[in-house]
Amino acid sequence: MADRAANPVIAQLQERIAHLESGAGRVREVLPFGLPDMDRRLPGGGLGLGCLHEIAGGGNGAVDGTAAAMFAAGIAARTRGKVLWIVTRTDLFAPALAQAGLNPDRVIHVEAGDEKALLACFEEGLRHGGLGAVVAEAAHLSMTASRRLQLAAEGSDTIGLAVRRWRRQTEAGDFGQPTASVTRWRVSVLPTAPLPVPGLGRARWLVELIRCRSGESADFEVEACDAKGCIALPSKVADRPPQKEVGRRIASA
């Protein structure tokens, strides 16, 4: 992104395109992940606030949607204000959301009954403007519906997170259908590295950025949300350079 902007003609063109895309021509706020490797791949350096983002689970996660829901919870936890969480059937366990940084006082749950009501509530929440984030666990999301949601989000600068979750594994192919969402993510679980003692370490996810408007796809291996909703890079990547440097310093001393 940085090197492309160095060319003044391209920078000018980009500015004009950005002006055309967002009606009011204002700068969109973003919510960075706090991981430079990830934020660099996203236009603007983070998830756009007035945008619709889709998150699905990989493998069995397409049905139970646990990793996708926790990824969404982590993003919602880092916004300000109340969070609306819309489901069709309720199997969410609130203490887990609290452990990802979403205090129970902040989350209003809606049990919408069917898909149609769910989308209506989703849009209503995005239009309101006073919420920090709106999360909806939707199975079907058509182009028309997602376009409506995207426009509603643009008007209010609320982040919309559609957690895609299907009844059966075979229906997950639906995720290939085009929608108007700005980014599309797939979160799957990975086996964790063994600890030196018996027990379980922090969960590890493969986060795939499948689609990103005005950006490129990428995939990242990250560690699951902590108590503040932040994901982290696995220690073997994050700690290697300083470790080496420290080692060299010790060696040279």
């Binding site: 199997d91 969410l92 609290a98 452990q99 129970p104 006082d105 209003i108 809606v110 919408a112 964790t192």
Partner: protein
């Protein structure tokens, strides 16, 4: 039975004179209660009944059967033994409530005819003389009467029998004249020409709401529940009911809530009267808004909560709150979406799964006793090898709640299979003592 005869049968019988006027007043009070809680169209059906038009109101109470059950329970709690029935017509419901064996009856539209046919003649709301006369002629059930030609019956007993039969079977309509209390704030609009278009209805909703809000402001009230009644030209009624989480007097917000529901109204051949009533209102005073220059104030979401609650039903909109209990399924409770924030959260550092199964599902496992995690487990037909595990987290039964939990124990393990998926398994029992549980394994949740 005469009083003298009853006194002869039961020595020391205590006799109270019937008081129809007080009965009638009591019935009106009950009707007002039902008006505020159940549906906008409620009327007393003397001497001993209430009639409620619940069209479009039952889903807000969790369905027809649940609504009846809670209604009967609430009446029972205040000392009134009630029987309740829902049917297509007033006549059928009246008969079902009084002559069926069950205390609560929900009659499906297709069953109304069959149900009525099997009932005795008294179920038809005819006067005693007519019923005796018909019995003399050999009629026993409504079905017998229904199959007879009408003309001879009308000649002998008058038009009443035909009318009651038609009302019960739904051939002719029977409007309910709803009760109104003088304290309620009410505005109405009568149209010279009947209206029917959605746009026109929306416009007049705006006008009615403005008038209602002026009246509410005069009295210092805010509306908690609004009813909009449409009197149609064919002498039937349609209604919209909206509820608010907090008292509201803002015309824009109220009009928005009512307009959302226009599509549920069937104007038929036209609407001639629209009545807007604040069924429940509370004192509401203007408050000074606190604004701080430092921190941006928390945006108000009560209007969103109202819109969503009227769309999906108030009980489907909630927040979770912690409950002091270690048993996972008892550790959360639902509270209203706008209840005051407590800042409380779940204590303890043990991870909890984002998805909790409604019922723990039994799994087949192989595990070393007493406190090792399983080596493998089979859930929903798929066998998974456990690679890594953490536990046990021992949760004891809450003996102060149920005697059966005096000695029970659950040992929870977090396990990870070969693909990295994590599950929450528990063994019912501590693996040593017979009385601590069945020693079987269950899957209770899925981790991310």
């Amino acid at each position: 039975m005469a009083v003298a005869k009853a006194q002869a049968l039961v020595p020391g019988l205590f006799v109270i004179d019937a008081d129809p006027v007080a009965d009638r007043e009591g019935l009106e009070k009950l009707a007002l209660w039902a008006l505020q809680r159940i549906s906008p169209v409620v009327a007393a059906d003397p001497p001993d009944g209430l009639v409620i038009d619940t069209t479009g109101a039952d889903h807000l109470h969790g369905g027809e059967a649940v609504m009846l059950e809670t209604m009967v329970q609430k009446f029972a709690a205040s000392g009134v033994e009630a029987r309740a029935a829902i049917a297509d017509t007033w006549g059928a419901a009246h008969a079902a409530a009084r002559f069926l064996r069950h205390q609560i009856a929900v009659i499906a539209p297709a069953e109304t005819g069959a149900m009525l046919r099997s009932l005795p003649l008294a179920a038809l709301r005819l006067d005693g003389e007519t019923v005796t006369g018909l019995r003399t002629l050999g009629f026993e059930t409504v079905g017998d009467l229904k199959d007879q030609p009408r003309a001879p019956l009308t000649l002998r007993f008058g038009p009443e029998i035909g009318r009651r039969l038609d009302q019960a079977f739904g051939v002719i309509g029977e409007p309910v004249d709803p009760i109104r209390s003088p304290e309620l704030v009410e505005v109405r609009r009568v149209f010279g020409e009947p209206i029917g278009a959605a746009d026109t209805i929306a416009r007049y909703i705006g006008k009615l709401v403005d008038a209602l809000c002026l009246e509410l402001e005069k009295r210092g009230l805010g509306a908690r529940r609004l009813d909009l009644l449409f009197h149609r030209v064919d002498n039937t009624m349609q209604f919209i009911r909206v509820g608010m989480a907090q008292p509201v007097r803002d015309p824009k917000r109220l009009a928005r809530l009512l307009r959302d529901k226009i599509e549920t109204v069937d104007p038929g051949f036209g609407i001639e009267i629209m009545v807007l009533v604040a069924i429940e209102s509370e004192a509401m005073h203007d408050r000074q808004a606190i604004s701080s220059l430092v921190a941006p104030s928390e945006p108000d979401v009560s209007n969103l909560v109202d819109v969503l609650a009227n769309r999906v039903g108030g009980h489907r909109l909630y927040r979770f709150t912690p409950v002091q209990s270690d048993v996972p399924e008892r550790s959360v409770a639902r509270v209203a979406a706008l209840s005051p924030e407590t800042g409380a959260t779940w204590e303890g550092d043990w991870p909890r799964p984002p998805r909790l199964l409604a019922r723990p599902e039994p799994v087949e496992t192989m595990a070393l006793l007493p406190d090792n995690p399983p080596v493998w487990f089979t859930w929903r037909g798929i066998r998974r090898r456990v690679r890594r595990a953490d536990g046990p987290e021992r949760i004891r039964g809450e003996w102060w709640k149920r005697d059966a939990e005096m000695t029970t124990v659950r040992d929870y393990f977090r396990v990870e299979d070969e693909t990295g998926e994590r599950y929450w398994l528990f063994r019912s029992g501590d693996g040593e003592h017979e009385d601590s549980g069945s020693q079987k394994w269950f899957l209770h949740g899925i981790f991310a």
